[in-house]
Amino acid sequence: MKYGMVIDLKKCIGCYGCQIFCRAENATPPGGAWSRVLFYELGQYPDIKKMPLPVLCMHCENPVCVDVCPTGASQKRADGIVTINSKKCTGCLNCLLVCPYGARHMYPKKSEYFPGQGQTPYEKASKRKHKPGTVEKCNFCLPRVEKGLKPACVGNCMAKARYFGDLDDPNSEVSMLIRERKFFQVEPAVKPGAGKKPELHPSVYYLLP
């Protein structure tokens, strides 16, 4: 069992839908989006395209963030999801330093969506989901997954560019897509052809545009 995500960049239109639905589902604080859309440039001027790249926690096979956690708050579950136990997290920020994806954020003690105007009713209501002073990140919408639902960003992607499933199961949608299409993993920790360096091996796959 290894949960993973496949994002089809041919379908992704960069509408930020995933980012908004992630925020709605997880009530992430300002500046700390778990699911984001970045844009990169493809080609050489004047033949240039601006392409979206939705990013989230990559749920690496060999997560460095879990290794450096001095309290064991960050864990890799048997189903492949990397989680943070907020009861054990002390906010030491070691994991933020080593994650090359910028996937982790500190939940601030004071935060307002609209600075100076007080917290919105939604922020107040969703406070119980968080523990200020601890580090948070995408957990593949674990509460939803445990109920048998897909992560919010997958279910609500209007271009239907996101797929979620078991990478270990050869018959799952995600496995089939990876088999049939050209894909890449964002793996900045490994230089191409650098040899046997320890790999992060992310569980998020991108199908080429």
Partner: protein, 421 residues
Amino acid sequence: MANTKHLIIGSGAAALSALGQIRKFKPDDEIKLLTMEDCLPYSPASLPYLLAGKIKKRIPWLRDKKYFKRMKTTFATGKEVVQVQPEAKQVIYRDGGVEHYDNLLIASGAEPIKPPIKGLDKVGVHTLRTLADCRALQEALRDAKKVAILGAGLVGIKIAAALLEKRYQVDIIESENAVLPLYFDEEAGTYIHEIFVGHQANIFTGKTVAGVSRQKNGKIYIEFDGSGSTTADVLINAVGVRSRIPALDATKIKVNRGILVDAEMKTGVEGVYAAGDVAEAACFFTGKAVVNAIISSAIAQGSVAGANMSGQSVSYEGGIAMTAVDIFDNSAFSIGLINAPGKSLKIIKEKDDAKRKFKKLIFDGDRLVGAMFINETMDPGIIRHLIKKRVDMATYKQALIDRVRPLTDPWLASLRFSGEK
């Protein structure tokens, strides 16, 4: 052929990381982990938080007994190695016992430096490196009101923040001119200084302690060199750590401040490796050997050592100094080279005194080599990636500071999409 026996001295981050690697490549080899303490492995980095009461329920063990059972590893407690004899391929314990090995990894970590201060032993000084230290300190703090901390390094700062939150009066005494001198320059140090002063801490920078003594009323009297003095109920020594090296006399293992190792974590003597705080490995920027006593270096070195001990050929890419502190809702990060004498570095700086924001990016030519920022929303992991991958930042330098482009732009540009090859 008999299985190889891997002996690992220590049970910290480097040791556990090596254990994982050895087991990955060699499912049947014998592995034995030694710890001088009588408990499961834990990280010294968690102790200031344990002291602060941020971890309430239980001690944050890094691994439990089940893990060692699953990894088919012997975890021996109370075993302090005092001598290594590489010719005979054996180690000597403090209790006189002898243990044979085929591959030895020295990952014994570090121990606090005791500054040469007159009267320090007499008044009783606390440190915070082991669980026992933490327990003793908690006991001493029970009746104390005022605490003096020697050293404004990472541990000193974290203890100070922990104690201030618990409403102790705190004095911090630092011999350098700013707090966190290893990680921040004086300008950034001033900001951290101000944050502490804002929370009623007394910070004495540029002061060395001439002597300490116990007064008649039970308080500890601390006299500075030159002028000035202070008193405290409890004195904590946090001036720094040094590698905890077992006796290596009559061996060819070279020792400087730590055990000198090559890129493969080998000590030069067959079958003996070193990793973590005890090892002196190459610096990422200069290639010179330095002790980089931080958790991520320990993990990386342990993993390299473990892989090489199980017959792989992996090399360490060099340590990058870095740190993160979160004090009273202010975050401060420092990564990479902060000052390099003799090198002409281009520095881009931006600060906002009112909001207490500080940002400094340090470039060597077009490459980012260091950064420090306080209360900025830049992601330190991405900065570290840009440094580590030596990304060409020519077009992004000023844009980054001007906030014209986000930090993720050079990150995205540096990605090589594996499918496009």
